[in-house]
């Protein structure tokens, strides 16, 4: 018998724990020809402000050992065009849509939550309080415990949708931010966003990114991300959506054992846009091999005692 892959994030039940990560999957429709969007647990679409945004000039990415830096600058079409131009097709395709929202003020997060609460097919909101690449918003809410509580609390009061603050690793203690989000009414937390980093061209002595710094993702960060998920899982009772350099089912399982109820996959999809059924099949194989009936039973099962 096939294992039960379903997991619960607040009031939301996902058919499996595999989610393309925000910022790595466009608005989902870019991949509609290469993956059945309805086969995924959910999709986290590219971060949206109220208004359209141009983002940073290129170069926007640079490759690093087993990873990459990005400083896209949250280029996006804004929430209204997203609802009008993308949601009808996403609904038709049966995608479970997690909308990643960004604001330069608490009021903007609240307004986005209000607007999206009435949109059919929006399953949850991921609060981007962790983008390292823009000055005027996002991460300013994610690097201060009081601000994290304030923005999560304000959005909580504005919507009945499940809300999932996405946390930055660029703080001393991610778990204290997870706890702050939980206390303010979050249904789950997702982590980690990228690690602030830079690469220099030594010949020209110039940064390789137009924005000077960018966020490091990919397998290079995976062990740190696993540790942070493990830390957070011990600090909160709400579900954790884990991410950071997952390239295979094995990596996803590692996050789940560390305490993640679901996982997001980003950079790996750049390398292999056909990765999704492989991840799901690999997870099923593992559960069958270990005679685990439900993936939910694997969550947070790290054994730390003497073997």
């Amino acid at each position: 018998m096939k294992a039960d892959l379903s997991v619960r994030i607040g009031s939301l039940v996902l058919k499996n724990p595999i989610i393309p990560a925000s910022g790595c999957f466009g608005y989902g429709l870019e991949y509609a020809d290469t993956v059945d969007l309805a086969s995924l647990g959910a999709i986290a679409v590219k971060g949206l402000f109220l208004a359209e945004r141009e983002g940073h000039p290129p170069p926007r990415i640079v490759e690093t050992p087993s990873g990459m830096l990005n400083a896209i600058g949250l280029q996006g079409i804004g929430v209204h065009r997203f609802i009008a131009e993308k949601m009808p097709e996403l609904r038709r395709l049966g995608a479970v849509v997690i909308v990643n929202i960004c604001g330069s003020s608490i009021d903007e997060y609240v307004e986005l939550a209000h607007i999206l609460s009435d949109v059919e097919g929006v399953a949850a909101l991921e609060l981007n309080i962790s983008c390292p690449n823009i000055k005027e918003g996002g991460i300013q809410f994610g690097c201060d415990l009081g601000s994290t509580r304030a923005v999560v609390g304000a959005v909580r009061a504005a919507t009945r949708l499940p809300i999932i603050p996405k946390l930055t690793p660029n703080v001393t203690s991610v778990s204290s931010f997870a706890k702050a989000a939980e206390d303010a009414g979050a249904d789950a937390v997702s982590l980690v966003n990228t690690f602030l980093a830079m690469v220099i061209d030594i010949e020209t002595r110039r940064p390789k990114l137009s924005n000077v710094m960018g966020g490091l993702s990919g397998p290079a960060i995976r062990p740190i991300a696993v540790r942070m998920v493990y830390d957070c899982a011990r600090a909160v009772r709400i579900p954790i959506v884990g991410m950071g350099g997952i390239m295979s089912a094995r990596d996803a399982i590692e996050f789940i054992i560390a305490g993640a109820t679901a996982v997001q996959v980003g950079t790996a999809c750049f390398v292999d846009p056909f990765i999704w059924p492989k991840l799901i099949a690999g997870l099923e194989d593992y559960l069958e091999r270990h005679a685990i009936a439900r993936v939910a039973d694997l969550v947070g099962t790290l054994q730390t005692g003497r073997a």
């Binding site: 790595c24 466009g26 290469t34 983002g55 290129p58 896209i72 390398v271």
Partner: protein, 273 residues
């Protein structure tokens, strides 16, 4: 346009053209069958995570057995510039490389009496073999302006000549053809043709060359199509890294993804940085 597929392609041949350039023939028949001139593939240069990302390459040739209609392979023209392209330079016959495609918007073809003038700088020759094949079958008059640093950087001249393409060569050191940039012969040729002669300029090469070709075309009242090159993360529209500033139908300039909206753009629409 065909839905992209990922082929675990065998390296059928690796021909070194110089100390930096090589042509890799990849057994990716399903991509070769549907690729149109100007489209590209994303090639993984390692099976591990370093380098992590794929590299974009124009489809150089679509390769068929002499007696068969459907192709069995495609080739890519590579210039060794970094870790990934060094691996491709050293690839051995029998190796397997993941090849994703076809991707992107192809060139828009022209038909007689419109002549097709192709302008290539260095590795920018890459999209013009398939363009030649597709335009030649319609009987279009073809001309290739092709520039490199030196005579050792010019390749496949026989290939184009055998297909009736008129060549205008240039090298920066003057060792072959005109001395200087590829735009010199182009400018002279444009001036020598009456304004009534309809032309389409197709360009691929360094960005300053594309900008100059688009400007020369515009000044002579001719349209142009330019194939841009950007650092590209995914080739599928997911990462938003490969943007080009392009004027849209609304008259406004927008940063658009060259993997989806390009790599081929109307030369008049690109807002050069």
């Amino acid at each position: 346009m065909a839905v992209p597929v990922d082929v675990h392609a065998e390296v059928i041949a690796n021909t070194r053209l110089s100390a930096d350039y090589n042509v890799l023939v990849l057994g990716a028949a399903s991509i070769a069958e549907t690729a149109q001139a100007g489209q590209f593939v994303m090639v993984r240069t390692s099976s591990g995570t370093d380098p992590l990302l794929r590299r974009p390459f124009s489809v150089f040739e679509v390769i068929r057995h002499a007696d068969q209609q459907s192709p069995y392979a495609l080739s890519i023209l590579c210039k060794r510039v970094g870790v990934g392209t060094a691996r491709l330079f050293d690839a051995a016959v029998g190796d397997r490389l993941d090849c994703l495609g076809p991707l992107g918007q192809p060139f828009t073809p022209v038909a007689p009496p419109v002549e097709a003038w192709m302008v290539a700088g260095g590795v920018g020759l890459a999209p013009f073999a398939t363009l030649t094949d597709s335009l030649r079958s319609a009987g279009t008059t073809l001309r290739l302006f092709y520039g490199g640093r030196s005579h050792t950087d010019l390749f496949y001249l026989d290939w184009f000549e055998q297909r009736g393409v008129a060549l205008d060569l240039s090298t920066e050191d003057g060792t072959r053809g005109s001395r200087g940039r590829v735009t010199g012969p182009l400018e002279r040729a444009l001036a020598a043709r009456p304004a009534s002669q309809k032309l389409m300029l197709y360009a691929c090469g360094p960005e300053p060359m594309l900008k100059a070709v688009a400007a020369l075309a515009h000044a002579s009242g001719r349209p142009s199509q330019v194939s841009t090159e950007r650092i590209m993360g995914c080739g599928m529209g997911g990462c938003y890294s490969c943007v080009v500033r392009v004027r849209g139908d609304d008259g406004q300039a927008h940063l658009v993804r060259s993997c989806l909206n390009g790599p081929v753009f109307n030369g008049d629409a690109v807002v050069w940085e």
